[in-house]
Amino acid sequence: MKFINLDLAWRNIWRNKRRTLITAASILFAVFFALIMRAYQLGVYKNMTDSVVQTYLGFIQIHAKDYWKEKTLDYLFEANNDFLRKVAFVKNISMTAPRFESFALASAGLKTKGTIVAGIDPFKENSMSGLSKKLIRYKMNDSVETELLKSGVPKDIIAAINESRVKSFTSQEDAEKKLTKFIGKENTVRFLKLILSKSKINHAYLTEHDNGVLVGDRLSDFLNLSVGDSLVLLGQGYHGASAAGVYPVRGIVKIPNPELDNQVLYMSVTQCQKLFSAPNMLTSLVVNLHDPEKLDETKSEMKRILDHGQYEVMTWREMDKELVQQIDSDNYSGLIMLWILYIIVGFGVFGTVLMMTTERKKEFGVMVALGMQKYKLGYVVFIELVILSFLGIISGIILSLPIIRYFVVNPIQLTGSMADMMNQYGIEPILPFAWQFDYFLAQSASVLVIISIAIIYPLLKVFNLDTMKSLRG
């Protein structure tokens, strides 16, 4: 019996090609737009998460109990062999990085400022956040500008660079890009080499137990520090000990977030521990994972292995509630957009189905008059629409695949102030598309639901068919 119905349905569909194609097309577009929108949204969230979480926060962090709430030096833990051995047990962990963070007054010459002192393992931190790439290699200050003027660079160009306040560059490409924005491509081509040669500064990244510091760009401006100068740090250490020391500046780093750029300086973890009189202690251990999807399971595993009373294990969601809320609210507004899309498209599908049903009123009347039971007729119509839906959905998916794939591999690069803002949050300024199986399924299922709702109308029409009226109609 089924095969006959299927056959009937198939033939019905192809009897009127135009009608079929219109209906299938409306379904196709629904699926197509839904997929593209969702791919974009999910890609952006993943980018936000990866940028902030992987490069700075880490997926999971281990602290001494209550550290995150209090954030003082009273809550430190010892990174002894026992602890490290236990942590090594967890398989999903791809990398760990130790951190010792506290506050101190930094002073150079007559200027003083409160700063965040971040003790890091230079190599591990670099593999996480690419800190060494943020080292400034070219910096323009007053003496550099005077030299450039002397060498024939016109005054207005120097003035333009001054106005822009962008006077530090991390590489030649960075300099080229930024200068082009402020003085135009022609001038950049003419003067780039000269500017670079005069503004070159020493720079070096931290070595493992380095007794030097890396200073944020804005902070170095405020304290008037150049590479090689000495910086004095003064503060309170562990258990009330005094923290005091003099440190040479090894390099200046450009931190995207302007507030941090104005406040932070980096030191090797061992020197930091020495400064604050807390040998072998850490404020946090940052943990990155092979498989971020298994976040909560990995956290539970770590909690089981480590002693509850002494440590706390937190995921990035617990640590940066702001980011979670941001992503969630964006996600929900994205879903709302999606649902609006569905409703619009749903009406489109409904429209074509309505048209199709009304058009075939006479045909249905004839079938029923000839003896076809209404429910069988309804069944055939139902199968027709199901076949149409599948046609539409599959072709929608196929059509969207190349476009999505293209943007996954070549994400849209953001520029201008939008890019700056994203950089400030430490997020790479790109709009990538997500390449996951789950949303393909989800979107197709949602479209199917809409179609089922739309199908109700024609089915009702069939069941309530007034044979006489439709024959005459």
């Binding site: 003064l234 009330g240 000990a241 005094s242 005091a244």
Partner: protein
């Protein structure tokens, strides 16, 4: 007639001997007991917290109420830091970083070197005689000794960190056995208890003082006077920035 006069005179003298001295005089006597014109002292300060303890030893020179110098002699990490008070200026010197830092008056109430013993205390910035008005408000027993209970309220324009102070001064030897410090809202902020009365140099004084902050039970700071010499001659030049860097 003369007999009547003499007996009247004697009774008057006797009665005046019975009258309690006024509060300011009591405080003056108590202050002189611990200060003298000048002093050199060696002290140990123990900072006690629920999870840790720290001991700092230091040497302190004082001349009148205008000059005071403190040198940290232990532990090794803190050694060499000096603190100077000259009239109204407070300075601190840190040899590790080679920096002379001026302490703003706003820092007076903060703990010295992370303890409950404030910067005001170590440098004796405020004087309990000159900066306060005194009133005798009663009599109580502290640690078995009869004491005058005196309320001190700061004078206008005095560089004082407290809203008011209550002192229990022993009647027989004028020891400041107990002190309670209140802020401007009248809330108890700190309690000071003196004990271990010993003979130091030419007098007997309490050698152990405990500072107990009100808001942090389990925290306290104990200052022990190891050795002291009173009325030594120290020149005013001793209390200088140059000397801060040299003194041993």
């Amino acid at each position: 007639m003369t007999q009547k006069l003499t007996s009247l005179l004697f009774s008057l003298l006797w009665i005046s001997g019975l009258f309690p001295q006024n509060a300011t005089e009591i405080v003056k006597k108590a202050d002189e007991k611990v200060k003298g014109n000048s002093s050199i002292a060696e002290m140990t300060m123990k900072v006690v917290r629920p999870t840790w303890e720290r001991t700092i030893s230091f040497k302190s020179w004082g001349k009148g109420s205008d000059y005071s110098l403190a040198l940290v002699t232990g532990p090794a990490k803190e050694k060499g830091q000096t603190f100077l008070k000259r009239k109204n200026e407070l300075w601190s010197w840190n040899p590790t970083i080679g920096r002379m830092i001026k302490l703003p008056p706003s820092m007076l109430s903060q703990g010295w070197m992370g303890s409950d013993y404030s910067n005001d205390d170590i440098l004796k910035e405020s004087s309990i005689i000159v900066d306060y008005n005194h009133a005798l408000i009663g009599s109580e027993k502290i640690a078995g000794k009869d004491c005058y209970k005196i309320k001190l309220t700061p004078k206008e324009n005095a560089a004082v960190v407290w809203g008011s102070v209550i002192k229990w001064i022993s009647k027989d030897q004028y020891f400041q056995l107990k002190t309670e410090y209140f802020d401007e809202d009248g809330e108890l902020v700190r309690t000071e208890i003196a004990s271990d009365i010993k003979k130091m140099d030419d007098r007997e004084i309490p050698t152990k003082i405990e500072f107990i902050p009100e808001d942090n039970k389990g925290n306290k700071t104990i200052v022990i006077l190891d050795e002291v010499q009173f009325n030594v001659s120290i020149s005013d030049d001793f209390f200088s920035q140059q000397n801060m860097k040299k003194v041993r």
